[in-house]
Symmetry: C2
Subunit: 429 residues, 2 copies
């Protein structure tokens, strides 16, 4: 029965029962973390073979004769560009292999635009105003980068097919100070939805007022399906932009952080030849080259894209039960209560939860007081300010399944308590 | 006999004989590279054990419980900060472990000052003028960074004890737009000299007009001695600055690029707690953390600083004969000719050569035409402009000893030819 259809007395009784359950759970001394998109130990164990593919008897020479142990190869070794090209669905020549972190690549990309401008345009630091569109809910670390550079962030609502494209199209066409948009197009952070074909097509056909407008396309979860038989497919954005006559519109990012080891994987950027030349002018001042031995290690470990796909199936086998358990718990506990909605993504690292207005912060605080850490409410919005206070990101990957069950139970309990309190308070008012 | 004491006829005869030798060497079809400070294959082989210290049965957990395979540890794992602390002679708490390239750390340090300023001071991008002092001859990649950011570079002459400190002191005290100075204080690039105690003491006592003036102290060759019994010692700059009451004056950089593998080592920055806090504010927007597995790999490989010292002795055993051979060749071929001077460093990667005025470019060009690539003449000066055209960097590390012998012979031959031509032309004029 929906809570908002219950009488005051019934709600008060329910609240009292819920609080008893809550206090009981508090005594369990939980210490669980559902705050970040971290792989769990079982997932990390999948990649321990990475440590075996190279040893002191290995030849660390590339096919083209490059000694991976020495300096050089600014854009990465050919073998890695080939593998990551297959992973990103891009031409290896359009790919730069970086260090261990795609976040770092995104930061550097914004920083370079800020200090030197994009393809001959005015550096952003010389402009009075620079703005970014931020589909919400979105990824807090994206927003942290643009906030750090003093870039004004304009929220754009997400729907089930991606950002509201009519709004995106209008804003970028009208306002020359809008220089970028943050996108997680597949198994989006945090909602888990993927952009529809229509959305991608419209992105490729944007007519921005700013010549240095770029789509920051963070395809972090391109390979991260939960199911073999049900998978989201995304139109490849660089190819679509090229077809649409907008070849330079996109910077596309990816990494193996959630494929092998976070922090010890390889990150990459794919973009048009023009953007590539522009980036290389800067990059050769920044470094002589990234870690080629680790690039080779990844290539030898996976052999090819099929090897990576098979590897990702093992990740899915670990993550699928976690997602399903959380989704089932949400359905069982909250399905008929009318106190929130959530997504059931086919991949990625997150489940998006939308509470009743004004409840997200209180739910997260209540979870914390009973030992379950969630991503701070508001984090999915620019400046940490979720105007309706509804968006909560659930990150089910890291805790072991049994812990996760308790965490999910506690989360639902907190949603119920805060929602009942809210409904009661609304009736008082 | 000195060339400048020889008659015109004798010089012409000598020139004709030298050119015959040169043409003979041209027929040898040499393809040798003395242009960059690259370790040779034998040196790289010394570190192949790095590939063995971790395998799939290894526990990749730190003493404090950090799983090196997962996200986190912005400033590096404790074990690596300890080891690199010993390497840099700094408190582990004052150290940030970065990715694979100290050049990248230096670039990012300049970039951060440019975009956000240092410790609350105006970002350099908002200033009309920013200048750096550049001791010359110096390192071309340093100069490339400051040039890329539009920072005006002011050359300061080097002597046998470091930069001319009277000039440095005067300039930084007078001009608030001078924000930094590039230093390679030990086994300097390219001259190989080390800063004297007096020089370091005076650096630590600088009274810059700019509150955001910083010494960029690139201690790239701190461990890179050629001899066991004769080594340069450098006063540790952070400690000296602290003693002098200027704790925040220095950013100090180092890496294992020329200890293990260039491109696959670990880089680090050491600085005061105030600077550290300032940097971390930015760093946490740029990355979640650097490659901890590679940090652990280095720690397990060396065990401790003694292990690293022993390892460096093996490098020295490979490099010493190369340096000595080049120095002996220079002495034999040029010692009595009065056509140049050179350094005989106790460590590092380079020998500095000073030709007669107006000869460096021609010498390097002549070497190239016979198959020996040197660092471009002028590269050791800001903007690639060596006003006297005298400075040549000799990088003897990469070629095998036999090749190096030929390269050194050819170099001396080119010095002689160009110098004789110059002396003859001067007499004509």
């Amino acid at each position: 029965m929906r809570y908002d259809e219950m009488s005051k007395e019934a709600l008060q009784e329910e609240l009292s029962a819920l609080k008893k359950q809550y206090h009981k759970m508090q005594t369990m001394d939980l210490h669980l973390d559902m705050s970040r998109g971290k792989p769990c130990i079982d997932q990390l164990d999948l990649s321990m073979g990475l440590m075996d593919v190279l040893d002191s008897s290995s030849d660390l020479t590339c096919d083209d004769g490059t000694d991976c142990r020495n300096y050089g190869q600014l854009t990465g070794i050919d073998e890695a560009r080939e593998l990551i090209g297959d992973m990103m669905e891009n031409n290896p020549n359009d790919i730069i292999i970086y260090g261990n972190s795609s976040l770092n690549v995104m930061y550097d990309t914004v920083s370079r635009a800020y200090t030197h401008g994009i393809m001959g345009n005015t550096p952003w630091c010389k402009l009075d105003k620079v703005k970014f569109l931020c589909p919400v809910p979105g990824y807090d670390r994206h927003f942290a980068i643009t906030e750090y550079f003093g870039i004004e962030m304009i929220p754009v609502p997400m729907n089930d097919h991606g950002p509201e494209m009519a709004i995106v199209e209008k804003l970028v066409a009208e306002d020359e100070s809008i220089k970028g948009i943050w996108c997680v197009p597949k198994y989006s952070n945090p909602s888990g939805i993927s952009y529809s074909d229509e959305t991608v097509r419209r992105f490729a056909r944007l007519k921005p007022a700013a010549r240095d407008f770029r789509i920051f396309w963070d395809n972090a979860y391109g390979m991260h399906h939960l199911y073999d038989d049900r998978q989201d497919y995304l139109i490849e954005i660089l190819a679509e932009c090229k077809r649409a006559g907008n070849p330079d519109l996109v910077y596309k990012f990816a990494s193996t952080s959630k494929i092998t080891f976070p922090g010890s994987g390889i990150a990459a950027l794919a973009t048009s030849p023009n953007n590539m030349e522009d980036i290389k002018k800067q990059l050769r001042n920044q470094t002589i080259g990234h870690d080629k031995v680790n690039q080779l290690r990844h290539v030898r470990f996976f052999q090819d894209i099929h090897g990576m796909v098979e590897h990702m199936r093992k990740h899915a086998d670990i993550l699928r039960p976690k997602f399903e358990m959380v989704e089932n718990t949400l359905a069982e506990e909250l399905g008929d209560k009318g106190v929130g909605s959530w997504t059931t993504p086919l991949g990625g690292y997150f489940i998006g939860f939308e509470s009743l207005p004004g409840c997200a912060k209180k739910i997260v605080a209540r979870c914390k007081k009973a030992g379950v850490v969630m991503t701070p409410a508001g984090a999915t919005w620019p400046y940490g300010k979720d105007p309706q206070d509804t968006s909560i990101r659930i990150a089910p990957t890291f805790p072991p399944l049994d812990d996760l069950r308790e965490a999910a139970q506690l989360f639902c309990l907190c949603v119920k308590i805060v929602s009942v309190e809210k409904i009661l308070a609304d009736r008082e008012a």
